[in-house]
């Protein structure tokens, strides 16, 4: 095998390894709902911005070596003023505006038609989900059942230490704080199974404290939830 072929294989292998993190059941870059899509969009904006800035800096750096005369007219004061202050201020302000606009989309503000609410309680080291829309006891452990295509408010709390509810393909993280209720609003655009984890270190069982979100077709949701609750009760 020639040297260039080995080099090519190495480059492709490293690229493959690097991009392997862009997909998978816990990938924020493969959103399955509007909340996760907003977060992913912010990430892409930041990536695009950093690539452009990197290219500008490396371009100037290269010019300084190979065409120093082109840059000789720029005074030290202007380098500091525009390169160090103006450019960074503009970039940070644009990012801030993007983050504010996208962040506002994630806020679970009250709606005229109240969305479906489910309770999520974290305790060492399981997630317990209950469903106020169901009469009587309604508990599912480590599996959250939701209807696909509908807005769902997950009311998150904890009965011991601070945990964090995070299903990366559906929404951002939200802390589960004892004695306090936080709400994360999510929608699964299509029926499917989505994974979630505890995103706040909560003790020796933290890495095992994961859960699954199953989004059912809306017409099959009530029956699927009733079956899941019945199965939990008989266990």
């Amino acid at each position: 095998m020639s040297r260039s072929a080995i080099k090519r294989i190495c480059v492709l292998g490293v690229t493959g390894l690097l991009t392997a993190g862009c997909t998978g059941p816990l990938s924020t870059l493969e959103p399955a709902g509007p909340a996760a899509a907003s977060i992913a969009l912010l990430w892409w904006i930041m990536l695009a911005g950093s690539v452009v800035l990197f290219a500008i800096v490396i371009g100037l750096f290269t010019l300084a070596f190979y065409r120093p005369a082109w840059l000789a007219g720029i005074s030290a004061r202007n380098w500091i003023l525009h390169g160090g202050i103006t450019m960074s201020s503009v970039v940070i302000l644009l990012l801030l505006v993007a983050a504010f606009v996208l962040g506002e989309r994630l806020v679970a503000r009250p709606l005229a038609d109240p969305p479906l609410a489910v309770q999520a309680n974290g305790r060492m080291w399981v997630w317990e989900f209950s469903y106020p829309s169901v009469e009587g006891p309604s508990l599912t452990t480590n599996v959250l059942h939701i209807p696909a295509g509908e807005i769902v408010d997950v009311r998150v709390t904890s009965s011991d230490v601070i945990h964090s509810f995070w299903s990366p393909r559906l929404a951002g993280k939200i802390d589960a704080v004892p004695g306090h209720e936080n709400v994360v609003r999510l929608t699964a655009e299509r029926p499917g199974t989505y994974r979630g984890v505890c995103a706040e270190f909560c003790g020796v069982g933290h890495t095992q404290m994961h859960f699954t979100v199953i989004a059912h077709p809306p017409e099959a949701y009530e029956q699927a939830l009733a079956d899941a609750i019945a199965a939990e009760t008989t266990e």
Partner: protein, 123 residues
């Protein structure tokens, strides 16, 4: 012991603006949390403005006023130091740096606290 040519108390002007900004930031952050807990965001004060929003705006304006006053005083100190300095002597660096530092505190107050005018406060 040899006495320093620059009294230590003059150094405080370097950080004064940012101390005011940090105090305003903490006050606004605490006010936000207290207001959300007591439901001030759903209590209307006047003209559709909630008690929460009004409180945050007042805290922002107070921080802006404090940092601006410090920036103005820093500018005056710098102007006075410049006129006192002999032409051959180096420029009064400490006063200049204090003025620039206090200007960045004003900018920090605007960038980090002015969004209280528009952003959702609770939920």
């Amino acid at each position: 012991m040899k006495q320093s040519p620059v009294p230590a108390r003059r150094m405080i002007w370097l950080v004064l603006g940012h101390v005011a900004w940090a105090a305003g930031f903490v006050a606004l952050y605490a006010g936000l949390s207290i207001g959300c807990e007591y439901g001030w965001h759903v209590m209307e004060l006047a003209g559709g403005v909630s008690v929460q929003r009004a409180m945050l705006i007042v805290l922002f304006l107070a921080t802006l006023a404090a940092t601006s006053v410090i920036a103005f005083l820093s500018w005056r100190r710098w102007s006075a130091a410049r006129t006192k300095t002999a032409a051959a002597a180096p420029a009064p660096f400490l006063e200049w740096a204090s003025f620039i530092s206090s200007l960045t505190a004003v900018a920090a107050a605007i960038v980090s606290l002015a969004p209280s005018f528009v952003l959702t406060t609770c939920y």
